[in-house]
């Protein structure tokens, strides 16, 4: 299975997603915000990032641009309680945008698509 990096400032979300994704056989790494994100990606080499947008000191949309610049093909799923960020063109650089919900069906489906995606080298 795959290694998923969850970046979210809500501890409850990190715990819930960790449990659910581990149950599906994934390895999960978590970060409480964007601090040290690039170093963690370098060390952990995740297969996909689930990235919150509105964090106390970090903006997930700005973090997304940094990730995309350095790791062009690393899947990133934006995950926010707000759908209003969809109007921001920065979201175009994300693989998917999923609005937070207690039902993780959509998030898991988008994670599956992101992990299955393949383009020949």
């Amino acid at each position: 299975m795959s290694k998923i990096l969850i970046v979210d400032d809500e501890e409850g979300i990190r715990m819930l997603y960790s449990m659910e994704l581990q149950d599906e056989g994934h390895t999960v790494v978590t970060l409480p915000d964007g601090k040290g994100l690039m170093e963690v990606i370098d060390e952990e080499k995740p297969d996909c990032i689930i990235l919150d947008i509105k964090m106390r000191e970090y903006n997930g949309l700005d973090l997304l641009q940094q990730v995309r610049k350095k790791y062009y093909d690393l899947p990133v799923i934006l995950n926010s309680a707000y759908s209003s960020f969809k109007v921001d063109l920065k979201t175009v650089a994300a693989d998917y945008y999923v609005v937070k919900s207690s039902d993780l069906t959509e998030l898991k489906e988008k994670l599956r698509l992101a992990l299955e995606c393949s383009i020949p080298k």
Binding site: K69, V92, A93, C117
Partner: protein
């Protein structure tokens, strides 16, 4: 291909080339030329630069109009030989000239643009100096503008080559000198590429060659000269769709392996207020009539191209009233794939085959207008994304039938 050249400033080398393709654009060409000049002066003062009008031997004084624009940037005029027309042929000359000038970055801006700003130069050029090879434009466009892009070119390019380039036939692009060389070395060229097929050809070659692709936000909507929409659409439709299908044949081993799709990086934020595009009126009754008329005249052709299952569903669609008309995206995708397979198989004249898709396109456009009538731009974008996912899901149908 040979071209005629006029190089009054004797330019022999340039880091940045701005190319403006044209055919009889004397009244329009001064505006993009001035904007390009302003952009190059403002953002690239320390680079060697040139503006090139790559023309189709216009007879309306385009050459004089272009060379007559007062610019600080040197200019070159090149033209196809008399009798050779087409945007693609103009751009092929541009590739040749840009490679000869050892250009690092090449920007293309249409000659009839009315909304271009100097910032477009920076936004199409800057990513090239940041090691990207191909810069596609991201414009805010009215939901009923560019129906071929929304309903076919974008979802098809995305499902085939796995990269989400929202405007694969946008026209205004940037690319590296290296990619210009790859364009010239490409094994595939046709009359359609030499015409309006060039934009999707460039995008596809960039994606197929795994060049680093980025989309750049242009800030202003794309506004160009008013055209006769019906005749322009039909001409452009055939060039674009034939080129997409020809490239499918060329690159079948590549797209067979592509599953789902990935985004690109994006450039060009912080532009302040975004200008909204002017409204585009759609004649739903006219679309309906052209759809129904095509169904009647081309039904025998459809029966031999479209699979029985999809044909039965198309009959259901035909029974729907114009007010509640809907052409399901999954069915639309499979019908497009049926046509691609028939094109590959040469089961009939290819010109006739692609022409027969136009009434279906009108039907799909009518459905798009009906379904998105009350939606804002963002909701329409999500609608188009869902449509693209239908193309991606139907890809297994294409692969199974294409490689049977």
């Amino acid at each position: 291909m040979k071209y005629v050249e006029e190089n009054p400033d004797g330019v022999s080398k340039a880091d940045i080339v701005v190319g403006i393709p044209s055919l009889n654009e004397a009244p329009s060409i001064s505006f993009p030329t001035e904007q390009a000049d302003k952009g190059l002066i403002k953002y690239y003062r320390n680079h060697s630069v040139v503006i090139i009008n790559c023309d189709n031997d216009s007879t309306d004084g385009t050459r004089e109009a272009f060379l007559g624009v007062k610019t600080q940037t040197p200019k070159i005029y090149i033209s196809t030989e008399p009798g050779v027309s087409g945007k693609g042929n103009n751009l092929r000359n541009l590739f040749l000239k840009a490679v000869e000038l050892e250009a690092k970055a090449i920007i293309v801006a249409d000659a009839d643009l009315r909304s271009m700003t100097p910032l477009w130069i920076r936004n199409l050029c800057e990513p090239i100096f940041d090691n990207y090879d191909f810069v596609a434009p991201l414009y805010i466009r009215h939901k009923y503008d560019v129906t071929v892009t929304n309903n076919i070119a974008y979802p098809l390019t995305r499902s085939l080559y796995g990269r989400r380039v929202r405007q694969p036939i946008g026209g205004d692009v940037g690319f590296s000198g290296n990619l210009a060389k790859q364009f010239l070395e490409s094994e595939f060229w046709s009359d359609k590429v030499g015409a309006f097929g060039i934009d999707v050809w460039m995008t596809t070659i960039a994606l197929r060659s795994r060049s680093s692709v980025i989309q750049s936000f242009m800030g202003k909507p794309k506004i160009h000269k008013v055209r006769d929409l019906d005749s322009h659409l039909e001409m452009m439709f055939e060039d674009v769709i034939s080129t997409v299908f020809d490239l499918m044949i060329q690159y079948e081993s590549f797209w067979r392996e592509v599953k789902w799709s990935r985004p690109t990086a994006v450039f060009g934020f912080g532009l302040g207020d975004v200008e909204m595009p002017p409204p585009v009126e759609m004649d739903t009754h006219g679309l309906w009539e052209k759809f129904i008329s095509g169904m009647r005249s081309d039904w025998n052709l459809y029966s031999s191209v479209i699979s029985n299952e999809n044909l039965n569903k198309l009959e259901e669609v035909l029974d729907l009233p114009v007010g509640g008309f809907e052409f399901p995206a999954g069915l639309w995708a499979k019908i497009i794939y049926d046509f691609a397979i028939s094109y590959r198989n040469r089961s009939m004249d290819r010109h006739e085959l692609v022409r027969a898709m136009i009434p279906l396109h009108y039907g799909k456009t009518l459905s798009f207008v009906t379904e998105t009538h009350a939606m804002n731009n963002q909701q329409v974008e999500e609608f188009i994304e869902d449509q693209c996912v239908q193309f991606e899901k139907a890809k297994s149908y294409l692969v199974e039938k294409w490689f049977a």
